[in-house]
Symmetry: C2
Subunit: 164 residues, 2 copies
DNA sequence: TTGGGTGCAAATCGTTTGCAACAGA
DNA sequence: TCTGTTGCAAACGATTTGCACCCAA
C-alpha cells in the first residue's frame, strides 16, 4: 500500500469534515493493495479479507469518495460491469489496450498521444480536462502460437512507449 | 433514414435466418432517423412514435442485433446509462469530446490520431481492431460569456480536423 | 404449418437508500 | 454529546427472461 496516497486520502477525509473509520481504512487498503483493476464486488471481497465486518453498502459508499478525492478512476473495459483503476496516481496519463483474444489489459503511456490529444482539444476550442482511450486489439502471436509472451504471468501489464 | 444501411440490416437479418418484422423495421427507423445518440429507453420512445405496438422487450432484444450487424455502437458518454451511436457507418473513426460545462457532445475525426493509434498498437505487438476515445473538456467561451457559439442549436456537433 | 418473434409481467442483478444502532472527534 | 457512519434489508432501475400467443416464410 502506498503511504503517500493514503495520506492524501486521510487529508481529503479530514478536509471534508468526515471521519476516519476502520472500514474506510480497510477499503482503501484493499483498493490500493496492488495495481489490479476491480469491480465494486471484487473490492468488497478484497476488503472482507482485511476486515470481515465491512459491508457491501459501505464499499459502495466509499468508492465515490475515493473518486472525488482524485485517487481512483472509473474505467470502461467493455462488458457490463464498472471497473475501477487505482493506477492513475502513479501513471496519470495512461490508456488501456484490451486484447480481444485473451481479455487481458495493457496499460500504456505515449507522450505523442498526450500532445496530440491536447492539440485536438485546443483546435476544437476547448481546454483539456481528462481523456480516456480504450483500444481493442488482436494479439497475432497468441492466435498463431496459442500463447503470448507479453501476457504470461500477468493479468495487467504496463508499457511506456518512448518518443521517437 | 439511410436506405443503404437499411439494406445491410435486412441482408444481415436474412443471412442469420431471422425474420423481417414490422417491429424490427420500426426500431431500425427510430435508431437511424437522425444522428443523435440514444439510450435504450429513448429508442423505445422514438420507436413507439412510429409503431406504438412495439414493446420494451423487443427494443432490448433488437439493439444487440444492430450491434452484431455492425451498424450500431455502444459508446461511453460517462454517466450511468448506456448510450448508442448510429454514426459509425458514415464516420467510422470518429471520437467524442464531451463538454463538461454543458454536457454536449462533439464528434470529431482526426487523421493524425488514427495514424498514431495504429502505430501505438503495432508497437505494442498487436493488430488494431477498434478504439474508443472520449475526451472531457471545458469550454472557455461558455464559462466566460455564458454561451458557446459552437454548440448553439445542436445537441450534437461534428468536426473534421484537417491534417496540417 | 412451423419455428422464430412478440408482449407482458416476473425475475435478475448491480447499486442505492431508509433507518436504527454505532462510534469518531 | 453530537453527528457522521455503518449494517441490514428493502427499494430501485435498467435489463433480461419465461411463457403463451402471434405471424412471417
Amino acid at each position: 500500500m502506498n503511504q503517500e496516497i493514503k495520506d492524501r486520502f486521510d487529508a481529503f477525509v479530514k478536509k471534508k469534515g468526515l471521519r476516519k473509520t476502520g472500514q474506510r481504512d480497510a477499503i482503501f487498503r484493499a483498493a490500493f493493495a496492488n495495481e489490479e483493476h476491480f469491480t465494486a464486488e471484487e473490492l468488497l471481497e478484497r476488503t472482507k479479507a482485511i476486515d470481515p465486518n465491512t459491508s457491501r453498502a459501505t464499499v459502495y459508499r466509499t468508492i465515490p469518495l475515493l473518486i472525488e478525492a482524485g485517487l481512483l478512476r472509473e474505467i470502461d473495459l467493455g462488458g457490463d460491469l464498472k471497473h475501477y483503476d487505482p493506477n492513475f496516481n502513479d501513471h496519470p496519463d495512461h490508456a488501456h489496450l484490451i486484447c480481444v483474444d485473451c481479455g487481458k489489459v495493457i496499460e500504456f503511456s505515449d507522450a505523442n498521444l498526450q500532445v496530440l490529444e491536447d492539440c485536438i482539444v485546443r483546435r476544437l476550442g476547448f481546454r483539456p480536462s481528462t481523456s480516456s482511450l480504450r483500444i481493442e486489439a488482436c494479439c497475432e502471436q497468441l492466435r498463431q502460437t496459442g500463447t503470448c509472451e507479453n501476457l504470461i504471468n500477468a493479468r495487467l501489464v504496463r508499457r511506456k512507449l518512448p518518443v521517437r
